[in-house]
Symmetry: C2
């Protein structure tokens, strides 16, 4: 089985490295070709374009920046759909709209290949530590093929959301929304504690050892308390991109999200003020 | 050392029972005297009024509904301050404004007695399981006297916030705010998942085993998924009371709290619609 990997960004690179380590062989492609060099040095086979990679592989992973970039590599004469062999599987890790997953699933089906949604939870350091969580949905035979590969890719766990690929993307959007609302909650609580003359470390120390003893509160709480907003673990502009997807989905299904709307406004204002490259916890800086 | 306990409501009663169990003797008082009967049956000494209880005790616990009720039992000719002996300690468990703690500390000081803030995290079932968390602040000698008693009262842990009694109340308000923002976050995420055709149990199962593996998300998530909004574990009208205190404090110290303001509005609308006696997770019912 030949495996391919498209998109060697901050998160794509360590995930691809994990696969290469376990499988010894990996076909890779990145638009900016220099980013493939670290993998080439470790023995990965660098392809010249998406078409070449798709022709040579049975399973193609992709992790690109947004819905448009995913369409670009997937559709058209030189895209994955047109060039992947029958029975091949396209595993899409990107955080995108559920409707995009549905649309691309149909396109692959027309060519007798498979689209699998496999959005991921975890920052680059979690990828390097092989502690990622993959959310997966799509046709069961494709899941059966890909599940062991997701573990090779650094997945500590693979969470299944059924036959409909879009479901994994819905779950991912819900999760990112829950994270951003937790960040804002902590930021407001820390601000209130500080301005009231209470050491916010003492307060956060208590909550993260009791009711909120969870990674999101421990890790993001730490960033908020230390105010280490640069370099970004997850850039605020990407956070806004995800919240925009959340709100687009919420409009589509007519689901009210007052905190979602609030966070869309707050993150938009941050980006407008030049904070797009800060970590998304930097939304705290705008609380007076 | 004689110990007294004022306020035998849903939470006060099991806390008082814990102390009685460990200490064999306890003086108790409740405005509605029938509520003292279960404790009297177990050997507690029922006092006729606050004055009598204060005269007979070295340490007086109080847990009453709000700042006004606390003022009522603490101040005036028949209150705790006037009747507690010099060196006595008033341990106030209620969730109140930090400024009230500061004011009552001064009143006690005038009579050479001590006021200790000891707000508590935990529902009645946590009290019965002796898994409460007490937040404590005040003069160190008073803390030294009271700390073992808080463990007797069912405190699995006692978290110290320094010499200034108000600090424990600030930390408690910050914590209740963090809880209500987590509830709203989950409610919005569950609503989005449902309306998008994704089983919210599958989603919550994943998040509570990964990034949000914490009691608040597991316990309140469970209520939200089962929609068991009655009987209330913590009544929505009490949640609104606490959020009002949060917002009063935020105004006092000029700390912006956009989610706080949103939750004040949302909970107010629920109470106006007759949902005050539902569990505070029932705010989810108003999401269209």
């Amino acid at each position: 089985m030949n495996i391919g990997f498209i998109g060697l960004g901050n998160l794509g690179l360590p995930i691809a490295e994990n696969i290469l380590k376990k499988r010894a062989q990996l076909f890779v492609y990145n638009r900016t070709q220099s980013k493939a060099q670290p993998l080439a040095d470790k023995g990965a086979l660098v392809c010249n374009n998406v078409r070449e990679l798709s022709e040579r592989c049975d399973v193609v992973f992709s992790i690109v920046s947004d819905d448009t970039a995913l369409d670009d590599i997937t559709l058209g004469k030189n895209g994955i759909v047109e060039n992947l062999k029958a029975g091949g599987v396209h595993v899409s890790i990107s955080t995108i709209l559920p409707a995009t997953a549905t649309r691309l699933t149909a396109k692959h089906k027309e060519r007798n290949s498979h689209y699998l949604a496999a959005p991921v939870m975890g920052r680059p350091e979690a990828a390097r530590a092989e502690k990622l969580n993959f959310l997966v949905a799509g046709e069961p035979p494709a899941i059966a093929i890909v599940k062991p590969l997701l573990k090779d890719a650094g997945g500590a766990a693979v969470w299944e959301f059924g036959n409909d690929a879009a479901a994994a993307n819905v779950a991912k959007l819900c999760t990112n929304f829950l994270i951003v609302s937790a960040i804002e909650g902590m930021a407001e609580g820390i601000n209130l504690a500080k301005k009231s003359g209470v050491d916010p470390h003492t307060w956060m120390n208590m909550v993260t050892q009791t009711l909120f003893a969870a990674p999101v509160y421990i890790n993001y709480g730490n960033i908020l308390l230390k105010e280490t907003f640069q370099p970004a673990g997850f850039a605020l502009k990407l956070g806004l991109k995800d919240v925009n997807l959340v709100m687009e989905q919420s409009r589509k299904v007519a689901a009210q999200m007052p905190i979602g709307e609030l966070m869309r406004e707050r993150l938009s204002a941050c980006v407008a003020n030049g904070m797009g490259d800060y970590d998304w916890t930097a939304v705290a800086l705008t609380l007076k």
